[in-house]
């Protein structure tokens, strides 16, 4: 217990076990059998502590604890542990909307900023690692388009009343510190000289070109203002390939601690942008002379399928749920040609936003603080 703060303490192995014993919603997932329990710290993320807890009879649970600073940087960059509240809330909300692709939350302890949730077990691995290893995931586009279409559609005004919408927007305004982190690392730091950028020495010239490009800065400023001002849907907020765990049959989206009501294109762009980065990094991963031409084609097809399937599923949800949300007049739904016009414009704007945010996310991963393993290795 390194730290005490209004009931908060950073857990160690023993206090973690004590917490589990005292919490039936969690211990029941281990069959109330804490004999031979094993605790393994696996947090390779940038922000939190993550433990896999398992027992000898095959029960398991993941415990994720937020600490009041950014783990990969240290206590010099404080960050509210309330992010765990927004993560748990979003896991539950997105889980309700898309059960197949979001791990279940067993318990959330706000005092401890601690989430107990399903262990997304092996052979699941982080998608980013799978892409580096050159593994094809034939259902990836299908699953991710399903996840994005359902979570974004059902939390937007296409499905919600403005009353529900404003209530949720107000609540998620509380996640401002995490939003500010995104504002900084995605929309600011890459465009200026920052102590947090890591480009030296190979990318220094590219970083300089980015910093000198006025038209690019103007576009990014527009995207930043959309990110700060537009409450379109409950977005994941950090939907890169490190926030997705996969097998060839299963896709699980994790880590929505950056969630808030923002522009849908930020999620779509993050996912697609990171696939594009994975595509370009493949030439660095050729396995002993074996090139990756076929794999690169699979990535391209996955990008294409992700948008096309997203488009199809999103429109399908919209057609199935006419007259429910308050974005449009009921009359719009009575006239098929007007509905087509409205949907066409909506999807075209969304595609445009997604490309913009995707580009911003790619730039930040190349010249900003948090690089991607794809290019580092």
């Amino acid at each position: 217990m390194a730290e005490v703060d209004g009931g908060f303490r950073t857990l160690d192995e023993q206090s973690l076990i004590d917490y589990i014993s005292a919490t039936p919603a969690v211990s029941s997932r281990l069959g109330n059998d804490l004999e031979g329990i094993s605790v393994k710290e696996v947090g390779d993320g940038n922000l939190n502590f993550v433990y896999i807890v398992s027992n000898s009879s095959g029960g398991s649970v993941v415990i994720k604890q937020a600490i009041p600073y950014i783990r990969c940087i240290g206590e010099s960059w404080p960050m509210t542990k309330e992010r765990a509240y927004f993560e748990a809330l979003t896991l539950r909300e997105h889980g309700r909307l898309c059960t197949a692709h979001v791990p279940e939350v067993y318990n959330f302890d706000r005092n401890l900023s601690l989430i107990a949730m399903r262990y997304v077990e092996p052979p699941h691995i982080i998608l980013r690692k799978g892409l580096i290893a050159g593994i094809e995931y034939p259902l990836l586009a299908e699953h991710m388009s399903e996840y994005m279409a359902r979570t974004l559609f059902f939390t937007s005004l296409l499905f919600r009343s403005t009353t529900e919408h404003k209530r949720e927007v107000a609540n998620y305004c509380g996640n401002v510190e995490l939003c500010r982190l995104t504002e900084q690392v995605v929309f600011s730091d890459p465009y200026k000289v920052s102590q947090y950028n890591r480009t030296s020495p190979y990318l220094d010239h590219d970083a300089e070109i980015v910093r000198e490009d006025d038209i690019l800065k103007l576009e990014v400023a527009g995207l930043k203002s959309m990110f700060c001002e537009r409450s379109q849907a409950l977005i994941h907020g950090d939907l890169h390939t490190g926030s997705v765990m996969v097998t060839t049959e299963s896709t699980q989206v994790i880590d929505p601690e950056f969630a808030f009501y923002g522009p849908m294109g930020f999620d779509i762009g993050a996912f697609v942008g990171n696939l594009i980065l994975a595509f370009f990094s493949q030439d660095g991963h050729t396995d002993g002379g074996k090139d990756r031409i076929a794999y690169k084609e699979w990535i391209l097809k996955t990008i294409e399928d992700t948008w096309n399937l997203f488009h199809k599923k999103f429109i399908c949800l919209w057609n199935e749920n006419r007259d429910v949300g308050e974005a449009y007049l009921v009359d719009v739904y009575k006239k098929p040609e007007l509905l087509l016009l409205v949907q066409g414009k909506y999807m075209k704007d969304l595609f445009h936003d997604s490309l913009g945010f995707g580009a911003a996310k790619m730039i930040r991963r190349i010249v900003g603080v948090a690089h991607v393993e794809d290019f580092e290795s």
Copy 2:
């Protein structure tokens, strides 16, 4: 005392005087002299009760009380009296930012949904009435552009941090019922057959044309979604010519109960759109053969001046307050040609939004529920 509801009661003349006697912040405005006090109900607005209270020694105060329904329609259309809280909050915030054009709040009683404020004394009249009477207000554009530039600039991310912004946005999300009223009467009802529209019989054909125009509906849908999703600044929310009181020397903006964090163009469009309506209604007001050609030219010039002065003042505030808000990178401000590019795009987008919202407000005043006296008389 017609109604009791958790401390709330609709005041009558006697209970109003009792309230004033018991409230030093108000009675002091009357020199604590309640002898020969006179109370005059003057609420000709659509929503509330408004009283002018004055005494024989020249002291005066306005008392405005919100009731839990829309006054001009009746108890069949309930409307939260919490709107008074948002009105008082906004009068104070806009008043702090633009003291010369916003009447001072002396006291706010949340239980009673009651605002005690400065009496905007004669010869001030409602601008709409002045426009019908054909009175020129040489300082109107100067004052309104000042009010809009200051209230919009200082509550936007051009001046605020995202932390302040999200806190304020969250709070004003509570004014959802008033936002919903706008959504209905501005963005919905005019485009469908509604019991609340009042067009019969002269405008029935025009209303039908509006209802059948798909491209118009598509545009209005885009404006509605911007209204619901975009938290650009603390807007007045109902800035028509009935919310402005004027003399030839003074301009006072009242009634911001629809205030929330929304698109700036909604305020600018409301004001300019209502001036355009006033322009077109002049032909109906010719005074015994005396035409209104010169007056119409003055209205046109006021419209033009309002935007041009707003543009100038807004940019001026922006230049004076570089590096303060978080909408743009500090770097933007270091390069004059980039700053010009950024400001040019911002103002062009804002002009575009203002024209769109202005048109929507004009349409709603012609075919919707709340007409304007300009055309009725």
